[in-house]
């Protein structure tokens, strides 16, 4: 068993390791190691296309994560008061959102958005006072943020709700008993209690959006995120520069994920009486 497990892990992680190793390759061919160098990192960071894609990715990731965190936290809190059948339906929908393959979400979001735009654009144009100058809704940063935000919201709801469910109900009652208004209780007790989960939800949403290729590929329109740039570059051959970008994305994602895990675990530690 152990041998198989080892084999699976090697199969999974060796390609990633190879990319990281080759990103420090001094030579220009991806398949041949020719000494250590960080020149490809420099090249990647100096490439205006890479920097633009990075900026788009960062903007989309931050905005969609923020959106998902706010909406997801509110949904998790509201779901507390929902029970029985509606609760089951909500739960099922949440898990479906997480489990459905990215390509399905990508295509369906694309079709939904295009249909919506085709329907809205003529309407806006007809209502616009000056003919021909009406703004056109189109795919781009906005649709990327919306699609990622929607998907990541399910993640946030699941994470925050676990924390809300684990919270001691008597803390809320104690706060009310001591004279805090419902909003006062939310601000002074509930929020600090679930803050680690909210932060972790934000970080996970951020990495999800930052790393996502499939959904972004469908709804990005003319925009280029970092994964899309990498994908289109690969068609011209794998260069050490791509390896460097991949390694940087990997490093950032890993760091954020580890941070999120640490926050969740630290936040989970409570008084020793439990």
């Amino acid at each position: 068993m152990r041998v198989y497990a080892l084999a699976v892990y090697l199969f999974l992680y060796i390609p990633i390791g190879v990319i990281a190793v080759f990103s420090f390759n001094a030579g220009r061919y991806a398949a041949q190691l020719q000494g250590f160098s960080t020149q490809w990192y420099g090249k990647a960071l100096a490439n205006p296309f890479v920097m633009e894609a990075l900026q788009t990715s960062a903007t989309v990731a931050a905005s969609s994560a923020l959106l998902a965190t706010i909406a997801g936290t509110l949904a998790a809190l509201a779901l507390q008061g929902v029970g029985g059948r509606p609760r089951m339906i909500f739960d099922a929908l949440l898990y479906i959102a997480v489990m459905v393959p990215g390509i399905v979400i990508g295509i369906s979001t694309l079709i939904a958005l295009v249909t919506l735009f085709d329907w809205l654009n003529p309407m806006i144009a007809s209502l616009w006072p000056v003919a021909g100058t009406a703004p056109q809704l189109h795919l781009g940063t906005g649709s990327l943020i919306a699609a990622h935000g929607l998907f990541a919201m399910a993640l946030v709801v699941i994470i925050v709700r676990a924390r809300v469910a684990g919270m001691d109900r008597s803390l809320i009652e104690a706060s009310a008993d001591l004279g805090a208004t419902p909003f006062g209780t939310f601000r002074q007790v509930t929020l600090p209690q679930i803050a680690p989960a909210i932060l972790a939800g934000f970080l996970l949403s951020f990495t999800f959006s930052f790393d996502d290729f499939i959904i972004a590929f469908f709804v990005a329109g003319s925009e280029t995120t970092l994964p899309i740039y990498v994908f289109s570059s690969i068609r011209r051959g794998v260069t050490p520069e791509i390896n460097a970008i991949g390694t940087m994305v990997l490093a950032v994602s890993l760091m954020v994920l580890i941070l999120a895990q640490t926050i969740l675990r630290r936040g989970g530690v409570r008084a020793p009486e439990e």
Binding site: E173, A174, D177, L178, Q188, A271
Partner: protein
């Protein structure tokens, strides 16, 4: 203070609470005196916690009314009631320090009290619960007993009209519980705040309360001072719940005034105070406290064989057996033993009790 000292601090008038088809509290009528230490005593599910939660404002009565200091407060939410609670598991805020926990109630007041006043009040409260200088500690750095004191300080610092205690001692070990009971009682006298305790521990209720309200199935069974309940229980339920007792089945022979005579198994006669609803010719039950029975070697009384003996220090508890009455307990004091000597399991002797030692109760 709105009311004068004779007016009740709180009152339940026909308070009923339903949770769907379950009636957790049924038609509770209760007057709570200013400054008293009142306990709700009963097994779990008897409605004592529901009664407390209605006073705190966590539950709204389905019927009836709750009065606080003369005002009807049915619809006043918990955060606007001048009442504080010590929760069963303390419910201290884990993200705040001890001082921040204690000052929480004061900091909710509008207009906000000056910071210096709050700090002074917190320090006073910490001194009252004998934890001076612990303000900067985190909750998880405190032991169970200390956490309980913090919970107490967090409640009393607000000078509530009622202090509600929901089984506050349940999580403490026996020794600590006893210390806390004494401390709570002292504190209650010192502060003059009305304390309302919910407990299933009869010893706790007996030792601390001015009055006890015994509950069963959402209803009040009997209300009175610990001594009243011990000496004059209304029925078997109360006699069984308050202190240890021996019960013997029988038939009521006669009732005269508040005294009754009952004939038990083997024609053993029991004479004593008659409980509620005891009438001649009816099946009833005699309750005799173990300490009211004496065990002697000389003839006279009920012949018994000692089955078991438990040495309790000041007293010795004998489990004895009579062919008619079955097994029952006798509590013999040291002095009594000095006269009669020790009984060993298997020894025979005679159990006696004076007339009036028994309580004749209906089978409720």
């Amino acid at each position: 203070m709105t009311g004068n000292d004779d007016s009740p601090i709180a009152e339940l008038r026909g308070a009923t609470k339903r949770f769907g088809p379950v009636v957790a509290a049924r038609n509770l009528n209760l007057t709570i005196r200013r400054g008293e230490f009142l306990s709700f005593l009963g097994p779990s599910g008897c409605g004592k916690t529901t009664a407390l939660r209605m006073l705190a404002g966590f539950e709204t009565p389905s019927e009836g009314a709750i009065f606080l200091d003369g005002q009807q407060v049915n619809d006043l939410p918990a955060h606007r009631r001048p009442v504080n609670m010590v929760f069963q598991h303390y419910a201290l805020f884990p993200h705040l320090t001890v001082a921040e926990n204690i000052s929480y109630g004061l900091r909710q007041r509008r207009p906000k009290p000056p910071k210096a006043d709050v700090a002074a009040a917190v320090e006073r409260a910490l001194e009252t619960v004998r934890l001076p200088g612990f303000g900067a500690r985190r909750i998880w750095e405190m032991s169970g007993g200390q956490q309980q004191r913090v919970a107490l300080a967090r409640a009393i610092v607000n000078e509530p009209k009622l202090l509600l205690l929901d089984e506050p001692m349940a999580a403490l070990d026996k020794k600590l519980r006893h210390d806390m009971q004494i401390e709570l009682q002292t504190l209650q006298r010192q502060l003059g705040i009305t304390f309302i305790l919910v407990t299933h521990d009869q010893e706790e209720a007996l030792s601390m309360s001015d009055r006890i309200c015994i509950m069963r199935d959402g209803q009040i069974v009997q209300m009175g001072s610990p001594r009243d309940l011990y000496d004059r229980p209304k029925n078997r339920y109360v006699a069984d719940f308050v202190g240890k007792s021996n019960f013997f089945d029988g038939t009521v022979e006669s009732v005269a005034g508040d005294s009754a005579k009952m004939t038990g198994p083997g024609d053993v006669a029991f004479v004593g105070h008659a409980g509620e609803g005891v009438a001649p010719g009816q099946a009833a039950m005699a309750s005799v406290r173990p300490e009211q029975i004496s065990l002697s070697r000389g003839a006279g009384g009920v012949p018994v064989t000692v089955v078991n003996r438990i040495f309790l220090g000041e007293h010795t508890e004998y489990l004895v057996r009579n062919p008619d009455l079955g097994q029952f307990l006798i509590l013999a004091s040291r002095q009594a033993e000095a006269g009669e000597g020790n009984f060993e399991p298997g020894d025979t002797g005679y159990a006696t009790w004076r007339d009036g030692a028994a309580l004749i109760l209906n089978n409720d």
